[in-house]
């Protein structure tokens, strides 16, 4: 194509073709439908939110008052404790169960399978009540070295308090779910990795520790974060055994002052705060681990900001590139 006839102003030569190196100056395609749908959605959201906020039946002053009430803060602390301890038991138990599940020993495989089958197959709520009432099956816990008097005896009820029952129920239940996540992570590592490791003489355990686990971790971290959030919310279930966590604390207060909605809002605000903090840290962790360069995702506020910025970014001339 000849450039000699091209004028600098139009960038278009006599035959209507564009010259080399000219930026495309076209009108972007318009999508008015998107704006219409967006406006309707915003209008609806505003309506719902103002209906709640301006409701004469919600005393927002009370919400603010109870947000930092000592009973609520104590309940919040217990909720956090239950989440962390329950998750710790869940992760350790899950790793153990996953390794058992992939073991060469069929007995260990079967035990792991039955455990997961049972704990995933029954409602968590029942498991919580079950552990709380464990003394009905085992009234006493006695651990004594046979033939001697040396050992440990305790009434089950004084050992398994509501908090202990809650930790056992949440942790043992979580272990079953974590086992599947860990197993999925281990299976996601290519078979060739194990072959390569064994072809240079690494033992099975070395292969697991040095090659397979470090790669599996990347697959395991994101769903574990979700489990963490799930665990945080599941702690509210232990209110049925009155373990004095956040929801129980709220219930105790509204049982006396009947400000049910206000206290449920208080509890919800705290759950939202905790899950938001967790989401933030999980994002950092995932980015640091570079879970996958291709599917690497930005946080929602960041996405909105970026798309706004992209509209405003001026395009420089090709010669500046």
């Amino acid at each position: 194509m000849s450039n000699s006839q091209t004028t600098a102003e139009s960038g278009v030569d006599a035959s209507g073709e564009r010259a080399h190196g000219e930026l495309i100056r076209a009108v972007p395609a318009r999508y008015p439908g998107r704006w219409v749908v967006g406006v309707i959605a915003v209008a609806f959201a505003v309506f719902v939110i103002q209906a709640i906020i301006r409701s004469p039946n919600i005393d927002w002053g009370e919400v603010g008052h109870y947000l930092t009430y000592p009973t609520i803060l104590k309940g919040l602390l217990l909720t956090i404790e239950l989440t962390f301890v329950g998750m710790a038991i869940g992760v350790l138990g899950g790793i153990l169960l996953a390794i058992m599940r992939l073991s060469a020993n069929p007995v260990l495989r079967a035990i792991s399978w039955v455990y997961i089958w049972f704990f995933r197959g029954t409602p968590l709520l029942i498991q919580i009540i079950f552990w709380f009432n464990i003394s009905l099956i085992f009234p006493r816990i006695i651990l004594v070295i046979p033939g001697t008097d040396f050992g440990y005896r305790e009434m089950t009820n004084s050992l398994v308090t509501a908090t202990v029952a809650a930790i056992l129920a949440l942790g043992l239940n979580e272990a079953a779910y974590m086992a599947e996540i860990v197993r999925g992570g281990l299976n996601s590592v290519d078979q060739g990795q194990e072959e390569a490791a064994s072809s240079i003489g690494l033992s099975r355990w070395q292969t697991m520790r040095l090659v397979v686990l470090p790669q599996a971790i990347r697959t395991i971290i994101p769903p574990t974060g979700n489990e963490f959030i799930g665990m945080l919310k599941n702690t509210s279930l232990v209110s049925v055994i009155a373990a004095h966590e956040l929801l129980t604390a709220s219930q105790q207060i509204y049982a006396q002052n009947f400000e049910t909605i206000e206290l449920l809002i208080v509890a919800s605000i705290w759950y939202l705060v905790l899950t938001s903090i967790q989401t933030y840290f999980q994002g950092i962790l995932e980015r640091r681990m570079e879970v996958s360069l291709r599917t690497r995702s930005e946080s929602m506020p960041r996405q909105l900001w970026n798309s706004w910025q992209a509209r405003r970014r001026p395009i420089s001339n090709v010669s500046d590139w």
Partner: protein
């Protein structure tokens, strides 16, 4: 000449499919043997039986005079435990079609991990040796790169260095260039040639006929689980005795 690898009357089945049928093969020390044959002919399986990645159903395989995967105790054959088999594998390291580098380690660590963890070499010494091997394969400057940051050809050269690091008696190559872009094949073949010049014993499963003709001391052709040719590359490739070899070769060059 001493024998590095000896395969004696090996049979192997996957279910009802016989993949190795009375296969025998000898590889002398310092020899380069290329295994050719159509896909499904059993050449990769044969390679994998040599370091016991695949179990065999009948026959015997010796590496450096030592039985692979089994041992005789009081006149009876006993299968070796996994740990012993794994430890023996370092004598027959393998280079894979898809490289199989450890993506969580740098090139240097990929090469040094075997000597450090299997041979118990001190870190500094293992790294020195790994650096030497990386420069042998022409990648001294990529020591700190992760596999994802390297081209296929570079990754395969690191994989060769990793295999060399164990000072094996034989290196087994499983189609080392067939996952590579055409322009990257040459750099890997050059490294293999370099090893051949240094007297490394190698068994190479390949589709590169020209490479086999050029470099191999012997060419073995497999078909349907059996060895149908075994001899000097020029004799096998230019004047095959079996008509099936001729047909296979004509399809390759077409």
């Amino acid at each position: 000449m001493t024998t590095a690898v000896e395969v004696r009357h090996v049979y192997k089945r996957f279910g009802s499919l016989v993949v190795l049928r009375d296969v025998s093969l000898q590889v002398q020390k310092g020899e380069v043997v290329c295994l050719l044959g159509p896909s499904g002919s059993g050449k990769t399986t044969l390679l994998r039986t040599i370091n016991h990645l695949e179990r065999i159903d009948a026959g015997e395989i010796y590496v450096g005079g030592k039985l692979v995967g089994y041992e005789y105790r009081k006149g009876r054959l006993h299968e070796l435990k996994e740990k012993a088999v794994a430890h023996d594998r370092r004598r027959t390291t393998m280079v894979f079609q898809h490289f199989n580098l450890f993506p969580n380690m740098t090139a240097l660590d990929n090469v040094a991990i075997g000597p450090r963890k299997v041979e118990g070499l001190p870190r500094a010494k293992a790294y020195d040796q790994a650096r030497e091997l990386l420069s042998l394969v022409g990648l001294a400057d990529r020591a700190d790169a992760y596999p994802k940051q390297m081209s296929g050809g570079q990754q395969q050269r690191v994989a060769i260095a990793r295999a060399l690091a164990m000072e094996p008696e034989v290196i087994l190559f499983d189609e080392p260039t067939s996952a590579l872009d055409p322009e990257l094949v040459g750099e890997v073949l050059r490294v293999i040639r370099e090893l051949a010049d240094r007297g490394m014993t190698m068994v190479v499963v390949t589709h590169e006929i020209a490479f086999a003709r050029d470099l191999a001391d012997r060419v073995v052709v497999m078909m349907d689980g059996s060895v149908i040719e075994d001899g000097d590359p020029r004799r096998v490739l230019d004047a095959p005795t079996d008509s099936r070899t001729a047909r296979f070769l004509s399809l390759q060059t077409a």
